[in-house]
């Protein structure tokens, strides 16, 4: 059929603006500032290993918390009336459309040493709490910003579960808890994996959240990459770090896809 050709402009576009740029990243990663081949950028990765580990750890922690918080919410939304579902789904989507920079700043205003919460605590005559510039605050920022990415795929998957399956489980003598652990939960695994990926990827590569809510001890890999391009202008090292981040993310996605037994991972 000739309509295959309709995709050619798209394919050309993606080749130039997606595939070629990734090639350039690889090329920069293996050259120095004069353009000569070097493995120096890659061998310098070792010094950034602790930062990589920290980023991965905080991102995994955030993804887990998102899953724990998001699952009951997605479950409730999927159980609502069609009208209620649409409304609640919209309420989940809405924050994502607003400037995440300003929403993060609002959290800074809430948690700061002279912020809203600490002002309240002070007015009660208590000692202010160290709520910001630590790992917990960074995780809070990640959970807050990326929670909708967890809820959406979970909701989509839960909605598709055939009611007759849970009814059959009940008829066959499962207690409500068992229906959940033996039927609903296993059937929602694709949504869990998809949600986990959708939270993990932006969380592991963020730089704004860690800049605003973290301290110098919570420098993440995104911060390092950003500074290579914006402050310490060293695009070769930045490219090498980007390459490492990309490989890391692809590996994580591949591992998570294996968990779903080759089932197609649900998307939004």
């Amino acid at each position: 059929m000739e309509s295959k050709r309709l995709a050619s402009p798209y394919l050309v576009w993606m080749a130039i603006f997606t595939v070629v740029p990734l090639g350039i990243v690889v090329w920069y990663a293996f050259t120095d500032s004069t353009g000569a081949f070097t493995l120096g950028n890659i061998s310098r990765m070792g010094t950034y290993w602790p930062i990589f580990l920290k980023s991965i750890w905080l991102a995994i922690l955030s993804s887990f918390i998102c899953l724990l918080i998001g699952y009951p919410v997605a479950y409730t939304i999927a159980g609502a009336s069609p009208k209620g579902q649409r409304l609640l789904y919209m309420l989940v989507m809405l924050p994502m459309c607003m400037s995440f920079l300003l929403r993060t700043l609002a959290w800074v205003a809430l948690l700061d040493d002279t912020g809203i919460i600490n002002n309240l605590i002070r007015s009660l005559g208590l000692k202010p709490l160290p709520l910001i510039r630590n790992d917990a605050a960074v995780v809070l920022g990640m959970v807050y910003n990326y929670l909708p990415y967890m809820i959406m795929p979970l909701y989509t998957v839960l909605l598709k579960i055939d009611r007759r399956l849970t009814e059959a489980a009940e008829d066959l003598g499962c207690r409500p808890g068992e229906v959940f652990t033996r039927v609903t939960l296993p059937l929602s695994v694709p949504g869990i994996i998809s949600g986990f990926t959708m939270v993990f990827v932006p969380a592991v590569s963020t730089f704004y959240i860690s800049q605003k809510m973290g301290s110098s001890g919570t420098t993440l890999i995104g911060d390092v990459i950003e500074s290579q391009f914006k402050a310490a202008y060293n695009p070769n090292l930045g490219a090498a770090l980007s390459l490492a981040l990309m490989v890391l993310v692809l590996a994580c996605v591949a591992i998570m896809n294996r968990f779903s037994d080759g089932e197609e991972v649900a998307t939004i």
Binding site: Y10, Y28, T76, P95, S205, G222, E226, F229
Partner: protein
């Protein structure tokens, strides 16, 4: 269990909306410190429209969002039609490429495009290549997958005989598209376009790497702002944008509701025609 879930859901929604409330309240504050309430005023809204430094940046964001989402919608819809007609192997290769910007961290997409533009700038000896064009290209690139992934399912739901029928009845392929196919996949096109528009309007990470000083969008400027003390009128702008997006979302919701009602009513060819007019 059910009550627990409900209460929990309400708490989570409060959590999601706390920052909005903080910013909306701050937009009416007479003081400049977001954490200290001094008194009620509309002055920030007045300042926002009077000083006119922020609104042109918002306009820049809207221009990029409109053009990039329109271009992505046209290119992406064409691509979705083309992908449908591909052999399975070709199709899965194309979808793999489509998924690259979706799975790659935004910062990597931004960095890779920045390096490409810098490279081209060096080759062609253009100083300051970063600007409107690079921003637009980057936005079209990350918008395309959203359009494709929302049009493809609609094409899948469509009865393939409709196109053949249109062709048999004397339509050219182009006429078949505009007279028949587009009505079937329009909800997918619209939701893809809207998704692309909102993604583009609020994009910071990718824009941050490919913008130039001559053409700054609002999120990039907010980022540059947040290194200095923030001007309260930005809260006013946020609150207004929140209302605009709320209205847009409600409209999108109504459209979806109509689409669902249409699909329920659709019974064969006659049902579809009736639905299409409604």
């Amino acid at each position: 269990m059910k009550t627990f879930n409900r209460v929990f859901t309400v708490i989570v929604f409060l959590f999601l909306y706390i920052p909005m409330i903080v910013l909306a309240v701050a937009s009416f504050n007479t003081g400049t410190d977001i954490a200290v309430w001094k008194g009620f005023t509309f002055a920030q809204y007045g300042a926002l429209f009077k000083d006119g430094a922020l609104l042109p940046l918002l306009l820049n964001s809207v221009i990029v969002a409109v053009i990039s989402s329109l271009a992505a919608t046209v290119l992406g819809t064409m691509a979705a039609l083309g992908i449908r007609a591909m052999s399975p192997r070709m199709r899965s290769a194309t979808m793999a490429v489509t998924n690259i910007p979706m799975t790659n961290p935004e910062i990597v997409t931004g960095v890779s495009l920045a390096l490409l533009f810098a490279f081209v700038g060096q080759m062609l000896k253009i100083n300051g290549i970063m600007g409107f064009a690079t921003l637009l290209i980057a936005h079209i690139t990350f918008n395309l997958p959203y359009v494709i992934l929302s049009v493809m399912p609609k094409l899948g739901q469509m009865d393939p005989n409709l196109r053949d029928a249109a062709l048999d009845l004397g339509c050219t392929p182009v006429q078949a598209f505009f007279k028949v196919i587009i009505h079937e996949i329009l909800p997918g096109i619209i939701s893809g376009a809207m998704m692309a528009f909102t993604m583009s309007l609020d994009d910071f990470v990718i824009s941050y790497f490919v913008y130039g000083p001559n053409f700054v969008t609002l999120p990039v400027e907010i980022y540059n702002y947040t290194k200095k003390p923030l001007q309260p009128k930005i809260y006013a702008l946020f609150t207004l944008l929140f209302l605009v997006i709320l209205v847009m979302m409600v409209l999108m919701n109504l459209l979806q509701a109509r689409d669902e009602a249409r699909q329920r009513n659709a019974r064969g060819v006659f049902g579809v025609r009736k639905g299409a007019k409604a």
